[in-house]
């Protein structure tokens, strides 16, 4: 009996020992990559990681547009709109709203953190330390994403090391919540050393230029940082040759009469279609291989439309105030919206008639059709308008105004009636002498429709453009002028960059800067005629500007 037990015990011990060697239970998968096998060990890993991050960005591309615009006064819901869109529109976003899932943002951050942790910046090819470009691109994506969290949700949990276990996740979850202001300091410190790194062609357009992100961060910081903001925006104009010059809309005059039905070109709309020179940053949103992108179908199904405010904004603009050529309206309207009946769908591809029309029964957003499976985040006009916003607050309202009306180039800068001597200074950001700026025109000027391409028609001169559009001498002096021009910039943003995703946050920034919640509340409440008092009351409290976490 004892012998038997001995045998039993010996065999059980041996069998457990043999069977339990540590690697006997290890499994591998060729479908996934284990963390400890990855770690950016080859340069290709970084490229794959970069593509992965772009893929993740697509998840918040819809959010960027919908949260930025539906909460503003320009984009509106329709009778077709689903509950998620209505929640956003009414500032009643619930936890389940797919366009306000905070973990979609953090997933980008965590992936960025992982690459930043392991990226091999010492790697050189052809004598170039190429990985610095990736590092810059990924850090700017991370910064921009953090900024989106802070702007949409009020605060962020800031972490720079990747979360790789459940324990890590719990630890980070206990970090303090930090505000946009504190976040800005951290991000500025993080980005500044990398801001002059040139990006390769591969990273171009798909990443966020550090100058732009820094400029925005300084702009949000406000007083004391406007010069830095202006410098960053200016640096970007110079470094990557961004101007306002190519795509100009025009009214056609026939027999000295402008015919609305057929008489205009709207080349302006090409300034924000993909792969043209004025695009600074876009998020690619293909639907191949099962990837989601809702904006197209929401738009096509008339779940989104332009508000009457947006249409009014354009319709009340005056192009040329002479008895002969007086016409009201802004050609950017026709690049921004289109009647749904002119849009059709074939084999899943949306096609729209290229000629915009003046019909306004069921408007959908032309810009989204033009995006063609991309979401435009930054483009030249926005860069110049942000520059204007910064220099205006530096006490240079005339310079800022010139961005709208005249265009920044050496000729404008040298005309004291446009940029008075008292606003001229020697800072780098005041320098528009380079040839690259020579063709710059005013943002408003080209969008309203000044230039006539057909030589048979009368060519208007620059000065003819809307003679009523002037910077008025304000009784209160410089401060009043600044506020006046800031209002014009705010208005111009609504005409030029409507529906692009920045509206609500722009209004937030202006309202915070002026310490005047009504500046935002009144404008947005205007969109809710049936519910105006409730919305105003809600938005008078700053905490309601943010999505409840």
């Amino acid at each position: 009996m004892k012998k038997i037990f001995k045998i039993l015990i010996i065999t059980i011990v041996t069998s457990i020992t043999i069977a339990s060697c540590t690697d006997v239970l290890d499994v591998k998968s060729s479908r996934v990559t284990y963390e400890n096998d990855y770690r950016m060990s080859s340069p290709n890993d970084t490229t794959y990681a970069m593509e992965g991050i772009w893929h993740q960005l697509q998840k918040i591309a819809d959010n960027y547009v919908l949260l930025g615009e539906l909460r503003g006064e320009l984009l509106d819901v329709t009778e077709n709109s689903n509950l998620n869109l209505r929640e956003i529109n009414n500032f009643e976003i619930t936890k389940s709203n797919p366009y306000a899932q905070i973990n979609d943002y953090y997933s980008i951050i965590n992936n960025c953190n992982y690459v930043i942790q392991y990226i091999d910046t010492a790697y050189t090819t052809k004598g170039q330390k190429v990985m610095y470009g990736y590092l810059a691109a990924i850090k700017s994506i991370r910064a921009w994403t953090y900024m989106q969290i802070a702007l949409n949700f009020g605060t962020v949990k800031y972490y720079e090391k990747p979360i790789l276990t459940e324990a890590d996740a719990e630890a980070v979850d206990n970090y303090p919540d930090i505000s946009m202001n504190e976040l800005s300091d951290l991000l500025i410190a993080d980005l500044t050393p990398l801001k002059d790194i040139k990006l390769s062609r591969f990273l171009w357009v798909k990443s966020f230029p550090i100058h732009f992100v820094l400029g925005d961060l300084y702009l949000w910081k406000g007083d004391g940082y406007y010069a830095k903001a202006a410098t960053e925006y200016h640096d970007l104009m110079v470094a990557d040759n961004y101007g306002i010059n190519v795509y100009q809309s025009a009214w056609n005059l026939k027999n000295k009469v402008i015919s609305v039905s057929s008489g205009f070109t709207t080349d302006w709309i090409y300034s924000f279609t993909s792969n043209y020179g004025e695009t600074i940053t876009q998020i690619n949103c293909p639907t191949t291989f099962g990837q989601r992108f809702d904006l197209d179908s929401l738009n096509y199904n008339y779940q989104l439309t332009s508000s009457t405010i947006a249409i009014n904004n354009w319709d009340t603009q005056i192009y040329h105030n002479t008895a002969l050529d007086y016409i009201s309206g802004d050609l950017r309207k026709y690049g921004s919206i289109i009647d749904k009946k002119y849009v059709s769908i074939n084999n899943g591809n949306i096609t729209a008639m290229i000629t915009p029309t003046n019909s306004t029964t069921k408007n959908i957003i032309w810009k989204y059709l033009a995006y063609d499976h991309n979401v435009l985040v930054y483009r030249s006009s926005l860069l110049y308008l942000r520059y204007a916003e910064a220099v205006n607050r530096l006490g240079k309202p005339n310079l800022a105004f010139a961005v709208l009306k005249n265009g920044l180039r050496s000729a404008t800068m040298g005309t004291p009636s446009i940029v008075p001597l008292k606003e001229k200074s020697t800072e780098k950001y005041m320098d528009f002498s380079d040839r690259q700026f020579d063709f710059n025109v005013g943002i408003r000027w080209r969008g309203l429709g000044p230039k006539l391409k057909d030589p048979n028609f009368r060519v208007l001169t620059l000065g003819d453009c809307d003679s009523t559009f002037v910077i008025k001498e304000q009784t209160g002096g410089l401060n009043d002028s600044i506020l006046y021009v800031e209002d014009l910039i705010q208005k111009e943003l609504s005409l030029e960059t409507a529906f692009e995703g920045n509206r609500f946050h722009d209004l937030m920034r202006f309202a915070i800067r002026r310490n005047d919640p009504a500046y935002l509340a009144d404008k947005v409440a205007e969109k809710h005629p049936d519910n105006k008092a409730v919305i105003t009351e809600k938005l008078m409290h700053r905490e309601n500007w943010y999505i409840k976490k």
Binding site: H55, Y105, Y106
Partner: protein, 1076 residues
């Protein structure tokens, strides 16, 4: 936080140990006491002579040449012509095994008697005393300790796969629910309730000792189809199927849902035996819910158009509304088509198999070949199966033997989508397609052509075109080979190892043609006109089970059988899927070349799982009275984290311990029972066991990255999982008490089992902290219980010379209850969407209950509706009030608060898919060479969500409706139970409510078989029998759907949902069996 965790962990282990140890101690004390008490007496008598008479139970005539042995065959005797035998037994409690030609074996305790009379029953009756295959090998039913049920007669079965047999043969022991009427689809199986919520709840299949991957979570690309690996085994190759319900701890972390052992036939004797089975069958067109005819539908559709908000000119564009005979389209829109006729046909089944067995002293073999061909009841559906099997046992020497098993099966199917699918399921389209249309086009002059029509103006495809134009294929191959070397070190000690390699491959191809099927909107992508998908799946398993077996009879009382073993399973599953849409034509359909890249999709899965189980099983018996069976396994798996709460850590892995103890007392061996003559056998059983469910996601314990597509063709890598080192198996603790009893000279045998189980550490989805960016993850938490009983009985009602009648009845019952659930986002209870309805998982409720609105008829008048004053919240924030003709929903949340608004707060539990009772009733009457077998199956008290009917009575779109909708509300004051038809259903009248919940109870005459053994006296032919059989002849049920027996999926939360798969229908078979 950490401390609490540790305490929990210690407690967990401690609990396991405590219960296990206390049981061990109890059993041990019991047996040692007995040992002491008995030792004094037994030493006195060494051998005892038993004299017996063996006779026929009916005629009471002695049986000559009956064999009498004891259980271990150590002594034996034969009766003389007077039926008398004499046997010197070692113990006065010896169990005698009596067998004779043409009779069933009988086992009887000698009960210290000197003389004994043993009546034998004809082998026409079923045999209680058969050998039964259990986990540790072959065992004796009378002395078996754990609960196990066995089937071993498949001679007249028309079943295509083994799971179909479980239902008919073990109705009360296994809740087996046929999936659909498609051949070989098998059944969803639940043993002793639902032992999981989110993980696999199907039993473990062990085929010839090898663990089979049941591929329970593998989705086919063909709607409504299941890949059923049991279909790879030809039923005529099966020797026995055993269902193990407890004492299965040697399969530890895989055994929580019970174990089904399937053993194929092997050569047993040296005589060459050849068996030929042939059968042919016809399956009739199934019953479907009756739908409206052309006139009725035209009225309905025009009613509905009036509510659709279209303008008059738009309405005028609908061709079917135009009644002008002179129009060229008149004929197109004035047919009366019964679409079902073009879809269904009489199904045909043919099956042939031949097997041979035999051998010599050196080797025994079994070889079989089989073919099964099925033409489905739905056109374009068929199946061909070819299978071959070779099992051999080589006796190399006295010390060394070698087993070899080889199996190969190939299955080819053609099939169409099944179930409620408004685009491509011909069965469903045949119900909803407008009957005024024809399958064929008309010319401009109005004459009919033979070309098939495209999808119609109402957006519904042509079902007949779909059955004609589809070319959907599945090819499955499975191959396995096993070596089983066995070393007999001593007569008592054996070492064997079973090494098995198993390959399963499935290739699926699917094409849905454009024009004939309607366009479909793919969310976030666009309209798809045609679809081509393809999927290749491969499962490779390497298995090894090495066992050291020790058997010893120590003295005349104490016997031990011990097994020490180690099992290793490496399972690799890979699947690759590709999908394309919009190739622009039905002729250019190459994947990937022809399709629009915008819709293109390629995904796949690689899952590699390794598991190890070290196990020990000790069976001890004392004096044929007391039996004890102890088993423990120590399991590790690549799926377990290395910091699990329920296990211990060793070699960097976490190991779970799964002990079980079962004890039995054969009361009829006791001396005091010798005078209780009407009880022939009585056995009491108790058991307690811990088992696990290791069906958790692969790689959950690892931090890993996956590939994604970016910008059409670029590859990106993103973090998709962060390590959860605590994830572990679900643990089931189950108690069992049972009694087996044979009465009145074994005329009646009864078996009753009570069980009570708790499953802890349920696999549940939890939310990650937002900062990880990953959403949800699998974790352990929550408990559920299953309590119930199983009863089975067998009555030998008539036992005359020529006429014999045997009746069987089985009943199963379980009560499932969720005891606790982890807090996720502050709540425990949650709803899962299922086919437009919702299933609630809530503490205190059974799993799978339906959750929706209660209704109370239809408002007959506007005044009624105005009185009720109920409304719903619209998407745009406004309210709509219920009007006459709308459903009267019951207002009131769970606290009874009526707020006047019908919304999610008013939902409540409206049905329970768990039956109160289920089982079967079988009868076998034989008269001379004729045998009539009848089998009823039943289920009582289960609710069904009739999804199919909910679609046919929704009245919301232009699909044809059931004839019940003829009584829909149409006029003020009309009292009816059917609400009005309104396009788009703005008031939600058709939403998930008790209108769609029905009583699914049924009693079904499942099979009737009449067989005749042809008396051929020939040297060549040993036996020849023919049989005819009918299935599903009569069903008693109140269920309004096509058929009350269905199982849409085998996961727990999808039970009782009738998704409209092809129902079972009547079928008739003729078969013959020839033994050479």
């Amino acid at each position: 936080m950490k401390k609490i965790k540790n305490i929990v962990r210690v407690n967990g282990i401690f609990f396991c140990f405590k219960s296990y140890c206390s049981m061990l101690v109890c059993v041990f004390c019991l047996s040692t006491n007995v040992l002491k008490a008995e030792n004094k007496n037994t030493d006195k008598e060494d051998k005892k002579l038993v004299i017996g008479l063996v006779r026929d139970a009916h005629t009471k005539q002695p049986i000559n040449a009956a064999q009498i042995t004891v259980l271990d065959n150590s002594i034996s005797a034969t009766t003389n012509e007077k039926g008398i035998f004499k046997l010197n037994v070692r113990s006065k409690n010896e169990i005698l095994v009596v067998s004779a030609f043409d009779y069933n074996v009988r086992q009887i305790s000698s009960q210290s008697k000197d003389s004994i009379v043993i009546d034998l029953y004809s082998d026409v009756f079923s045999n209680y005393f058969d050998k039964i295959d259990v986990l540790a090998g072959s065992a004796n039913n009378l002395t078996l300790v754990p609960t196990a049920k066995n089937v071993n007669d498949f001679s007249k079965s028309q079943a295509i796969s083994a799971d179909e047999l479980l239902q008919s043969e073990l109705g009360g022991d296994v809740r087996a629910i046929s999936r659909s009427g498609v051949a070989g689809m098998g059944a969803s199986l639940f043993i002793r309730g639902f032992n999981s919520l989110n993980a696999n709840a199907q039993p473990l299949f062990v085929v010839d000792g090898v663990i089979m991957n049941n591929l329970y979570d593998v989705e086919s690309i063909h709607g409504g189809f299941f890949s059923n690996p049991l279909n790879d085994i030809d039923v005529s190759d099966i020797e026995s199927i055993t269902v193990m319900k407890d004492g299965a701890s040697i399969y530890g972390s895989k055994a929580a849902n019970g174990v089904v052992l399937i053993n194929t036939k092997r050569g047993k004797g040296m005589v060459t035996k050849i068996t030929v089975n042939v059968l042919t069958g016809r399956t009739t067109q199934p019953n479907t819910i009756p739908v409206m005819n052309a006139g009725e539908f035209r009225t309905y559709a025009s009613d509905l158009i009036g509510t659709s908000g279209l303008t008059n000119s738009q309405i005028a564009n609908f061709s079917f509304l135009q009644d002008d005979r002179s129009k060229s389209t008149y004929n197109t829109y004035h047919n009366n088509t019964n679409w079902a006729n073009g879809i269904y046909q009489t199904g045909v089944t043919n099956s042939y198999s031949i097997n041979a067995k035999g051998g010599d002293e050196k080797a025994l073999y079994y070889f079989s070949l089989g073919y099964t061909g099925v033409k489905g009841v739905v056109k374009s559906n068929d199946m061909q199966r070819v299978n071959a099997r070779f099992n051999a046992d080589f006796n190399m020497s006295r010390l060394f033997a070698m087993g070899l098993n080889i199996g190969f099966t190939s299955i080819d199917r053609k099939l169409t989508d099944d179930g409620v699918n408004s685009y491509t399921s011909p069965t469903w389209l045949s119900m909803i397609k407008s009957p005024y249309l024809s399958p064929y086009n008309y010319t401009s002059t109005g004459s009919k052509t033979s070309e098939l029509a495209y999808s119609d103006e109402l957006g519904i495809g042509n079902p007949q075109a779909i059955v004609d134009k589809y070319s959907n294929l599945i090819r499955q191959y499975s191959f396995n080979v096993s070596w089983i070397p066995t070393f007999h070190f001593t007569p008592n000690l054996t070492l064997s190892s079973q090494f098995d390699f198993n390959l399963n491959k499935t290739a699926e191809d699917y094409y849905s043609p454009m024009f004939y099927a309607a366009k479909r909107m793919i969310d976030g992508v666009g309209y798809a006109e045609n679809t081509h998908t393809n999927q290749i799946m491969r499962n490779t398993a390497i298995f090894d089970d090495t066992r050291l077996k020790y058997t010893k009879q120590f003295d005349r009382y104490n016997q031990i059988n011990a097994i020490l073993g180690c099992r290793y399973l490496s399972n690799y599953y890979e699947s690759d899927y590709i999908e394309g849409h919009n190739s622009g034509s039905n002729s250019s359909t190459n994947l990937p070349g022809s399709f629009d890249s915008k819709f293109f999709k390629v995904i796949g899965v690689n899952n590699w799982t390794k598991s190890i189980s070290n196990y020990i099983n000790v069976d001890y018996s004392f004096d044929n009275r007391y039996y004890l069976s102890l088993a423990t396994s120590v399991d590790g798996s690549s799926r377990f984290g290395n910091q699990t709460k329920g296990g211990f850590s060793m070699f960097g892995n976490s190991w779970g311990v799964f002990p079980s103890a079962n004890a039995a007392w054969l009361v009829t061996s006791e001396k005091f029972m010798r005078h209780v003559e009407f009880i022939n056998h009585l056995k009491l059983r108790v058991g307690y066991g811990v088992t696990g469910n290791d069906n958790i996601e692969d790689y959950a314990t690892q931090t890993y990255f996956s590939t994604v597509r970016q910008n059409t063709f670029d590859n990106g890598i993103i973090l998709t999982n962060i390590a959860n080192p605590t994830i572990q198996w679900e643990t089931t603790y189950r108690k069992n008490a049972g009694i087996d009893i044979g009465l009145f000279n074994e005329r009646i045998s009864l078996s009753f089992d009570y069980f009570s189980g708790v499953t802890k550490n349920l696999l549940t989805l939890k939310s990650q902290p937002d900062v990880s960016g990953l959403g949800v993850y699998w974790s352990n938490g929550g408990e559920l219980s299953n309590n119930g009983y199983e009863f089975s009985s067998n009555f030998k009602l008539l036992n005359f010379k020529s006429l014999k009648w045997e009746l069987g009845l089985s009943v199963g019952h379980y009560e499932n209850k969720i005891l606790s659930l982890p807090l996720v986002n502050g709540v425990t209870d949650y709803n899962t969407p299922v086919y437009g309805g919702e299933v609630r998982t809530a503490v205190g409720q059974p799993a799978g209950v339906f959750y929706g609105y209660k209704t109370n008829g239809v408002y007959a008048t506007e005044a009624d509706a105005a009185n009720a004053n109920l409304k719903i919240l619209n998407q745009n924030g406004s309210y709509s009030y219920f009007k006459a003709g709308d459903v009267r929903f019951v207002d009131g949340d769970k606290n009874g608060n009526k707020d006047g608004v019908i919304d999610a707060n008013d939902k409540q539990i409206i049905g329970n898919p768990n039956p109160k009772l289920y089982g079967n009733i079988s009868s076998k009457i034989s008269y001379k060479k004729l045998t009539l077998s009848t089998l009823f199956t039943y289920s009582y008290g289960n609710d069904v969500y009739n999804y199919q009917r909910s679609q046919l009575e929704s009245g919301t779109d232009y699909s044809n409706q059931s004839t019940v909708m003829l009584s829909r509300w149409t006029a003020e004051g009309q009292n009816t139970s059917q609400p009005k038809a309104v396009f788009g259903d703005p008031m939600g009248n058709a939403s998930f409510s008790d209108r769609w919940i029905e009583d699914g109870s049924y009693l079904r005459l499942k099979t009737v078989t009449l067989s005749y053994a042809i008396p051929i006296k020939s040297n060549f032919i040993e036996g020849f029998s023919i049989w005819i059989s009918a299935n599903n002849l009569v069903t008693f049920t109140k269920y309004l759907g096509s058929d009350p027996e269905f199982s849409t999926r085998n996961s727990v939360l999808f039970q009782g949902v009738d998704a409209g798969l092809v129902p079972l229908s009547k079928s008739y078979y003729v078969g013959l069996k020839l033994n050479l």
